[in-house]
Symmetry: D2
Subunit: 380 residues, 4 copies
């Protein structure tokens, strides 16, 4: 079966196109409805561009869309939410109330109260709710998890994560500050800048790789340059489940680093390291042995990791394809739910992961505001 | 305008899906017809999967498809040929004769006679004819060309290219010899193995980066292991236009190298180096200066290179997206041709490039058969 | 002039040989006396091996050596102290009291009280006192400092340092725990393990590169595995002079990392990054420009950095040569002091740097013991 | 026992110091005599600098030195020849005739006739004769050989070597053409430039790693820029013993590459790759397995390779130390010869390797002069 889906937002930047390609990549879903922009003409132009042929399914607002699609016998199976951060919560709530499954950009919401309400609603309504933490879609992330679950590196002893970016420094110099504007606006982005925007990617990636979540944090936020409203540099000491020590650094002013998400996981028997600079590779070292480099789509991978690869090894799958793997996880689970079939091995981050992300940021904000003391992450 | 296209083949491997995604990636074309398999049931299944809704445009053979589509007022604008190598020539010829533009997998044909006939036919009929040398679609390849054309590295003095792969060694060990079977069958692949399959990628990539073509070659082919029919390792000394010296090595038994196409170009004022291990990067060195690493989608790139990037810098675009850039070049040129508009800066390798590739292989075969003497590349 | 020097210790491990080669590398000094071991026979054997011809200058203990050499008209100009950590203080004190200049292994002493006493004594006696923080001897560290002092990366905004090692994990697995034994013995190593042993290298390297020192720290120490006496993993949040935020991570159980000291320095106009994996290279990025890789002995380096290189660029100078540069700094300054000549541009870490290192560790210990609160580094 | 040695030359550049440090590094030899320069004052100044105390053993010319040292009962055990290339032959001949063992810079001589005469003479006189092909001294080169001899990568199928440098391009731009002058003077360097200077390093390194020697070659030499006398770029197709195909590229105008000697060896069961960019590492890949990175001084190395390491793994040993390993091989063998003891596992390239290098260059010159036909390497 092929799922039908709609999209809210996505007409304003590159991410709408990413969602569309990703959702349709493995022919598990087709875009049939949407409210791509507040401007109906623009929305219809996107419909034409994106092969949505029935223009009656292009809506002026998300409320109308949710109601109309819920009322159709051939209504959408799920909706993709690709709007600015501050609108995720009301839109998601609306579609949940109409019984429609959800794939939503991160952050899930602006605070944990909103997030938990959505999680609770999804549970009550028995609806799937995915959150698109892109990097978790890389095959090697799954390989890491399979290896760790199988005990290949033993008990985890230390975790180092980081996500330096340089775009804000570049924006300030080049004057192309469009992104800077909204990402640095507390009203639209929430109370945290860098930590919410990319620190949560590190937190979620570590969780997907290890199964471990932050239990408490010490965080220091800096606004660099100092006249910028939200933090652009965040340094976080983390204690993960089981008392495992870790550090996370994220920055938007780290000149020389474009999108450099790196995670290093150490265990009693070995280590596993992943870098977004070469996302198809995993550096694996057993104690007292030479480091090895595992790569995409090789026979020696765990089947659940190999299944995430579409191309022969050495042929690069990137951002779109990692995003596609999130949709593959969401869609195969949704189809299994609808058909009673086997959901298989594909996964996706859920609304619970979304809540954890917000709780992590809230604990960091609180620690930063209180002279960098330990603050528990309230991830109910 | 959005072009309509059909596909012949593509139902048997991963490459059909690559073509479909690549052609539709930038919303310049939509798949509406096809003969995806010789088995009509399979073909129809692919139609459904690939959102081709009018099943009357699924055809039992390419001849029927060419005739029928040419007869329709809303017939396809171009056809994609994604069949085994030995069938490219008759299929392309048939569609050209019906006045349909063409995007064809490499190699264009099995010998230069066939290739030249197709080139001549395309010229007579005034039809566009692209050949999908994937790697030429990476933005950094265009950046290299723009820099070289602007004289940034001065007159070219030396070119080193290589494309080691290991898949055949892996196949032999793991017993998964499906690809090995047809790629090592002279009847289906032609008289050359490794050189035709991947050596031509190096040759074409160098030509796209520099504008220089092989003038003559000394080639040595080895079948490793020795009981294999076609060469799996090819070492080639090349003299490019203007007497520029170069070397090309390609191998399918180079354990430790998955798909490692590397080109290094030296000039009197500097050098430019590209590796498929990090295709979004270009290593640029001016004489007596520190090496620099240029990357995708940065402001300092030439506009024609930057235009090939879809994602913020640091977000990885890979094989699908490079392939998409070939279609972007082909489609924008075709649309410009049809509308009389500006074709813009996007490019694609043409039937002439395809002929050059075959001529290169033929010269190598001849050199190898004649004790490795110099043989001119006949690239009329 | 060529300086005469003696050595205390050095007969028990590889470091004695390192000192000897390093001190003599540039023909500024010659070894003429020593107490290489507590066993006179061993000590004399080393004398023979190391070309010390006058065996009357081989001494049974350091006190005798200090007194005897001080009494000679041709006595040693300086002494190298290459003994276990817990003996540095009394030995250094003894030689200072006899008016002999000193090069001492790090750590300078076991606590700041001892360290300050030595610093004070050196000052009173007007004696040079170097501490061999090896990594600071690499030419690229000096290049970084020159660039930063010249304002090339603007005001510093963030500093990330780390020094993961794996040797302790390897020792535990392989059973070769000799080093583990003494490095994990509080009586011989002091109250801190990993932080004192290698964290101080990071602290000192950052200071040499930037001129900035830790003002306060939050530190978390972990003993991994848990039955080991001293910490083997240290995570430190640092506030440097001027409020610059930073993080330091050091570990001895970081499987896959042999000796991987990395420092990344970010400024308002660019960044400078150095890794011990390629110590002859410096990664330099100006905001909105491609990263560059500066390397040893190139004309574009600052003269003070280029002067530290002995071999043509591309020829690797490693640990011995970096160590040699410390002695080059110490000896040229000592010769200048003795001759009234120009000391030139070579530098070396001093007793003050040694005190700072101990103060840093003490602050970390205190923070770790107090629930990871901020503790000021008392670096008078 | 500690050997006594003298040096001819070495006062004019950095290489004299390299020899001295390397020969004395492991305390197997001590410099006691020399003719460091044709100017006796300069020679005596070097003696003082280099701790040669008996100035009566500083000689005005090599003939006098050979005669005098041969006549002494405590005369030198061996002589190091570190003079310009065109003088190696007469000097070596003279010392051999006086019964003195030899360590000589490469190239051994200017033609094979000279080289063979030296080899013959050494044999007749039963004298050790080493040639300092530096790169062969790296521990990982020995590890490669041990692995290959043990059959770890199976029968060798293909060898790729290269040695690009950029110094000549830099010299021409920066005007610092001192080296360029003599290296481009046929009277002093011989008939070949780049191939003799660095191509022989590749040839010898491959031989040391694999035991295979070039059987025949096709070579193309280019002088870039064209007004330079000797070739600065050499491209060579090689057939090694047993018909193994290979390619070698060397260049002195390869902008962006300082001293980048790389060798990749492929076998039926795996591959071994070494790069001078990280000489302490070896990339090892078994067919169908992830690549591994072996490093210096680890327990998993072969004992003969591990024995070549002096520092804990991760601490960089570079050019001096590799050079030191050649002397370690030469000296341990010479001591064993003198004492009748066990020579142990250390090795060094010999006069026969030196002859092979010249024969290789001569074959390349002949191929280049004859339209790039195959020419046998006459390595009797």
């Amino acid at each position: 079966m092929k799922l039908k889906f709609g999209m809210v937002g996505g007409g304003g930047g590159f991410i709408g196109d990413v969602h569309r390609h990703a959702a349709q990549m493995d022919d598990l879903a087709i875009l049939v409805a949407g409210c791509f922009s507040r401007d109906m003409d623009k929305s219809r132009a996107f419909a034409e561009k994106w092969n949505v042929t029935d223009l009656s399914r292009i809506y002026p607002d998300y409320q109308t869309m949710a109601a109309a699609e819920a009322a159709r016998t051939d209504g959408i199976d799920f909706v993709t939410i690709a709007t600015p951060n501050d609108t995720h919560y009301p839109i998601a709530k609306c579609f949940l109330e109409h019984g429609i499954h959800i794939m939503c950009d991160k952050p899930l919401a602006l605070d944990t109260a909103q997030g938990r309400e959505l999680a609770q609603l999804a549970k009550e309504k028995d609806l799937l709710f995915g959150v698109t933490y892109t990097y978790t879609g890389y095959a090697m992330i799954r390989q890491a998890r399979e290896m760790i679950d199988a005990g290949e590196i033993g008990r985890i002893t230390c975790i180092q994560g980081e996500y330096p970016q340089e775009w804000l420094a570049v924006s300030l110099v080049s004057g192309s500050s469009e992104q800077a504007t909204w990402r640095q606006d507390p009203a639209r982005s929430g109370a945290s800048g860098c930590c919410a925007d990319i620190g949560t990617h590190v937190e979620c990636l570590i969780a997907q790789m290890t199964g471990l979540h932050p239990k408490r944090v010490i965080a220091r936020f800096d606004s660099i340059p100092s006249d910028i409203p939200l933090e652009t540099n965040a340094q976080i000491m983390v204690e993960f489940d089981g008392g495992v020590p870790g550090m996370i650094w994220t920055s938007q002013i780290a000149t020389g680093h474009e999108t450099e998400l790196n995670v290093r996981i150490f265990g009693e028997k070995g280590s596993i390291e992943w870098s977004h600079l070469r996302p198809w590779a995993l550096r694996v070292t057993r104690v007292n042995q030479p480091p090895q480099t595992y790569t995409n789509n090789r026979d020696y991978l765990y089947p659940a990791a190999k299944a995430l690869c579409r191309l022969p090894s050495g042929h690069i799958e990137g951002f779109y394809e990692a995003f596609g793997n999130l949709y593959r996880g969401f869609c195969t689970n949704l189809i299994a739910k609808k058909t009673g079939g086997d959901p298989g091995t594909f996964r996706y981050p859920t609304v619970e992961d979304g809540v954890r992300g917000i709780a992590f940021v809230e604990a960091c904000l609180q620690s930063n505001a209180n002279h960098n003391v330990w603050v528990n992450v309230d991830a109910r």
